[in-house]
Each structure stands twice: as C-alpha cells, then as structure tokens.
C-alpha cells in the first residue's frame, strides 16, 4: 500500500495498467524483428517501472529511473543501433525454432518456480508503512553514513567505465598532413590507421 494520495481502487487500477504496459513492452523488446521498435519499447518498459516505483512510495528513485534509464541508457542504445545498423538477413541456424521453443519452456518453468516460491513463503510484512517526509533525505543520510564506501566505489567505477568505453570505442585517426596510398579527393571519410586483424575474417 503506498502513501500517495490515491484511494485503494485507483492504486489497483494503476497497478494493472502499468503491469500490462510493462509486460507488453518487454515482450515486444525480445520478440520484434525491427531493433529500433524494440529499443523504443524498452523506453516504455523503463517508464512503466518508474510508475511502479511511484506506487511503492519511491519518488526519488522513480525520478532517477526516468532520468538515467530513459534519458541516458535508452538514448545510448539507440545511438549504438544507429552505428551498427547493417541491414542483413541472418543466415538460418540449425534447429533455430526448436531452440526458441526449448528456451521458452525453460523460462516458463523458471517463472513457475519463482511464482510458487513467492506465494508459498510467509513474508514478514510490516503492518504499517512508515510515512517518511522525504525519501531523498533518508537516502542521502544513508549515502553519507552507513553506505559511504559503496557510494565512493560507485563513483570510481563510473569513472573507470567511462574511460574504458572511450578506449574501446575510439578510432585512431590519421592527421591531415599524411596521405595514404590512393586517396580519393572527393571522399568524405576520415582516414584511419588500418586496424590489424586479429584473425583472418571470412
């Protein structure tokens, strides 16, 4: 039960609507052929999850979810799709349909196992939900008292990941004064150093 100013019925309706949106978008992400549609439906998934966080009394985390996931991660995925957008039909793999069916069965089995575990455990649910004046204040107090070390480590990790992503994805561009072989004067491409092939590609 959340402490937002909605009645009980409205909260249930919101939960049902958000769940339907979430499950439909998630199925679209994994099943649609067009990868751009899948990326946009992933954004819809993230927004539904933010709505579910609001139903769980988490205003700050819902805002952080929209900002970080929809605003940064989803845009990054869309740019990556733009850069690796090679329209090719995949060659059929042996037993492709059978593999999908078996995976589907295994995932359904896992969902059944998780569902049975969830419904058969006696969760020690507290009788009342504390009404905090501001979750952001409590989160801030945690970050600077008992969760200080993970907070600092997370900032170091973000720095390392940023530098690592730049190193992995950069191109070694040749400076302007060097002409390599036959350079087409009308070409608009940036000259790069030829990448050494690790293995002979087919």
């Amino acid at each position: 039960m959340s402490n937002i100013g909605l009645g009980d019925g409205s909260q249930t309706v919101s939960l049902v609507v958000l769940t339907a949106m979430l499950i439909a978008s998630a199925m679209g992400v994994v099943l649609l052929q067009n990868i751009v549609y899948a990326a946009f439906l992933l954004g819809a998934c993230f927004i539904s999850v933010a709505g579910l966080y609001l139903l769980l009394n988490a205003d700050f985390v819902a805002a952080a979810q929209v900002l970080i996931y929809v605003g940064a991660v989803n845009i990054l995925i869309l740019f990556a799709i733009m850069l690796v957008n090679k329209r090719q039909d995949y060659q059929d793999v042996k037993y492709g349909a059978l593999r999908s069916v078996v995976t589907g069965v295994v995932c359904l089995g896992l969902f059944a196992l998780l569902g049975v575990t969830v419904t058969s455990t006696n969760w020690a649910v507290s009788p009342t939900i504390a009404k905090l004046p501001s979750t952001m204040v409590v989160i801030g107090q945690h970050f600077f008292s008992d969760y200080l070390l993970p907070f600092e480590l997370a900032s170091v990790l973000l720095l390392v990941a940023l530098i690592g992503a730049i190193v992995l994805a950069r191109r070694e561009l040749l400076p302007d004064t060097v002409k390599v072989g036959q350079v087409d004067e009308d070409s608009l491409e940036l000259l790069e150093k030829p990448k050494e092939q690790l293995v002979a590609s087919k």
């Binding site: 952080a64 090719q88 995949y90 589907g104 989160i139 992995l168």
Partner: protein, 101 residues
C-alpha cells in the same frame, strides 16, 4: 495491494529478459535484455524495501547502486559491440564464434 503481485511482476520481467538474452541474434538486443533483467531485480528490491523496511529504505539505496552500475555496464557493453562491429562487420551473435571449440 500487497507484496506478492510486485514480486510476481518482477519474476515475469526477469524470465522475459532471460528469454531475450538467450535467443537474440542481434548483440544490441542481448544488452537490452540484460537491462530488462536488471530492472526486474530493482523492482524486487523496491517491493521488499516498501513492505518490509519502510522506515529505513535500504532497498531504495541498493536500487540506486544497481541503476548506476547498470548504466556503466551498458556503456561498456555497447562500446564492445561497436568495436566488434568495426572489425567483423556484423552484429550477429552466431558469427562471434572464435572461442567455440
């Protein structure tokens, strides 16, 4: 509204993410499925934080850490996919078979 509906929704999202992770041919879709799984885990943490620990919302603190780690991992993963695309000219997961015996 009680605890169990949220846990079941999170379990369903996690299983959809696993299905997408295993059956996708496109490497970017694999990373999108990993993001779905991370969101399922976050939803689980938030549900427990609200119904079991609502005074000191430690589940929400944990969720913020998971969100930031997931963003960093998405950046590095997509940089790797881009780098592979530059040298192999494909993003088909079936073609990335250098380590296969």
């Amino acid at each position: 509204m009680s605890l169990e509906p949220f846990l079941i929704i999170a379990a369903a999202l996690f299983c959809i993410g696993i299905y997408g992770l295993i059956t996708s041919r496109n490497a970017v879709r694999v990373l999108m499925s990993v993001e779905l799984m991370l969101n399922a885990v976050n939803l689980n943490l938030m549900a427990f934080s609200n119904y079991l620990d609502s005074a000191s919302i430690r589940g929400q603190v944990f969720t913020i850490f998971v969100i930031s780690i997931a963003a960093a991992e998405a950046a590095v993963g997509l940089a790797i996919v881009l780098s592979i695309y530059r040298s192999r000219d494909t993003v088909d997961m079936e073609q990335f078979n250098l380590l296969r015996w």
